[in-house]
């Protein structure tokens, strides 16, 4: 087993293994991010960072149902000034471990995306992930940036001009044609694509009180229920673009990591599975991945990445 090489090159950044802590999961404070890295993640992503601090919505903000999680956190975060300190502190501890940190950013205007990218770059995260795809902010910002190829490209442009760091743009599955958006952000200079954000939004009621169970009302669907949709999105995007894809959505087991790699993903984000299998999920999933590789005689991930896309279907 020690012969297996799980490492990944994501936009020029080396990850010791393909599992990435997804944005919004535990990524608020440096000590917790370091703990997740020590428990086996190949990279960690911060919670999405806005210019000003945000309280987020009232609770419940995230619940578990039989398909996974439903969340409307409201992008709560302490704002970029606080978060760059967390990133700096995290990076200091993560660099010796060889685990990169991805700073997730979001803003409510195209212009602000640039400003915050510049700000965050000061803290030297290894990558920037641009969250244009949160499904829970529609009422606030009137629409999701990732719903429109032109707007998505504009945001990408602006961020690229504001940083020298590699930039991932995070897309939404809640669009009629995700490939169109992927091509637009690639064309606009994105170094990679993160696909996907949570699905929906969805709505679950408490039928006794006739109220939505989330305080916000609707919420994004993640976890196992999202997986087949995410796999299809990643497959479609990988077929269409040349830049690497960080695949996120419902990944819970080593088998699910393999599935994402088979359709062409470079690395694989894990979020909701932390609720299902604990923060050990990264190490566990890597062990399961190694078992698959051993059974098939693969020594590294390139040996099978994209194999399913090679078979025409």
């Amino acid at each position: 087993m020690s012969e297996l090489d799980l490492s990944v090159n994501l936009c020029g950044v080396r990850l010791p293994n393909p599992t990435v802590l997804a944005s919004g999961i535990l990524g608020l404070t440096h000590k917790v991010m370091v703990r997740v890295a020590k428990s086996g993640a190949g990279a960690v992503t911060t919670k999405s960072i806005s210019r000003a601090p945000r309280d987020g919505y009232h609770s419940p903000v995230v619940l578990q149902w039989n398909g996974g999680l439903i969340n409307a956190v409201g992008l709560s975060n302490p704002g970029v000034e606080v978060m760059i300190e967390e990133i700096r502190a995290a990076k200091e501890k993560l660099a010796p471990l060889g685990v990169p940190i991805i700073a997730s950013i979001f803003a409510d205007t195209i212009y602000d995306f640039g400003a915050i990218a510049r700000y965050v770059s000061d803290a030297r995260p290894d990558l920037i992930e641009v969250n244009i795809s949160c499904p829970n902010i529609d009422d606030e910002y009137s629409r999701m940036f990732a719903g429109d190829p032109y707007v998505s490209a504009q945001v990408t442009h602006r961020v690229k001009r504001s940083t020298d760091l590699p930039v991932l743009v995070k897309l939404s599955p809640n669009v009629t044609d995700i490939v169109k958006i992927a091509l637009a952000v690639e064309e606009a200079g994105a170094d990679g694509i993160t696909a996907v954000n949570s699905l929906g939004p969805g709505l679950i009621l408490d039928v006794e009180s006739c109220r939505p169970v989330l305080a916000h009302g609707t919420g994004g669907i993640s976890g196992p229920a999202l997986r087949p949709i995410a796999v299809r999105c990643v497959r479609d995007i990988c077929r269409a673009v040349k830049i690497p894809v960080l695949a996120v959505g419902g990944v819970t087991t080593g088998r699910d990591v393999v599935e994402m790699l088979l359709v062409g993903a470079t690395a694989v984000g894990i979020g909701s599975a932390v609720a299902l299998r604990g923060s050990e999920v990264f190490a566990t999933v890597c062990r399961e991945l190694e078992t698959y590789m051993t059974n098939h005689g693969y020594e590294n991930l390139d040996a099978f990445r994209g194999r399913a896309t090679a078979i025409a279907f």
């Binding site: 608020l28 404070t29 987020g56 009232h58 609770s59 305080a215």
Partner: protein
């Protein structure tokens, strides 16, 4: 297994404990809950907040009126529908071989009562020290008396029991124990910080229930971070050793945004 989804329940009985404190008995139970564990209590259309289990069956919660959520809850009537999920977190672990000193202040009293009940059930004898600002704020004292445990009371103004801090009263009593005690405590963080120093000085063991801003309750959102610990999962009950390593303990908490805020 813990179900991370609010289960509908109704308030069956409401008791006024003191000016700001009410106890709510629900028509549901949290079987398997351990002393120190908490539930997320949902008021549909209002908010959802962590509340320590005071009695697991029927589920009983004691709530201090402090802000919008607790005020809305205090306005609830018998029959009002709520939701509960849990139990969550890591509770107290009774060490039967050492003298047990249970210390509580403010809204820390209910989980300590649950622990005292558990100790009595197991035949472990315990000493309980309760603190309040004045006599009228003291809650649960008769419940502890009914349990038949040794009970020490302290108020800031001396209107009930010892005048002064419950921590001093507890320290004084603990020094009389034949063996080094374990301190089980729940209450305001400055009180816990004082007890931590005491335990460190005396070499006593301690398990303290700590509060941090809780959103998810099941280790997903990272909001409850105390250094590298997640209070909703690793805590709320943490050991003296864990807390000694946590640089923020007694100094910084986190707001709903996740921003570090000085305590007091």
């Amino acid at each position: 297994m813990t179900i991370n989804f609010p289960r509908p329940a109704r308030i069956r009985q409401i008791t006024q404990e003191s000016r700001l404190v009410r106890t709510f008995v629900l028509d549901t139970a949290m079987p398997g809950a351990e002393p120190g564990q908490f539930v997320m209590l949902w008021l549909p259309g209002v908010d959802e907040k962590p509340m320590s289990v005071a009695v697991p069956a029927p589920l009983t919660l004691t709530v201090t009126r402090i802000g919008p959520f607790s005020t809305a809850l205090h306005q609830a009537r018998e029959g009002t529908q709520v939701g509960v999920r849990g139990p969550y977190g890591h509770g107290f672990t009774l060490e039967p071989d050492r003298p047990a000193l249970l210390v509580a202040g403010g809204c820390g009293v209910p989980p300590i009562y649950f622990l005292a009940c558990r100790a009595v059930e197991r035949g472990v004898s315990v000493t309980v020290a309760l603190g309040a600002q004045r006599a009228g704020d003291m809650v649960y004292d008769d419940r502890f008396r009914d349990l038949g445990v040794e009970l020490l009371l302290a108020t800031d103004d001396g209107s009930l029991g010892h005048q002064g801090y419950v921590t001093d009263l507890a320290a004084q009593r603990a020094r009389q124990f034949p063996q080094p005690p374990t301190i089980y405590a729940c209450g305001p963080e400055p009180m816990l910080a004082a007890l931590l120093r005491l335990c460190q000085q005396q070499g006593w063991a301690g398990q303290f229930s700590v509060e941090r801003y809780i959103k998810c309750g099941f280790g997903i959102c990272g909001q409850c971070a105390l250094d590298g610990l997640l209070v909703c999962q690793d805590g709320p009950v943490l050991t003296v050793e864990q807390l000694a390593r946590a640089q923020d303990f007694g100094r910084f908490s986190r707001s709903a945004t996740g921003r570090r805020m000085p305590i007091r």
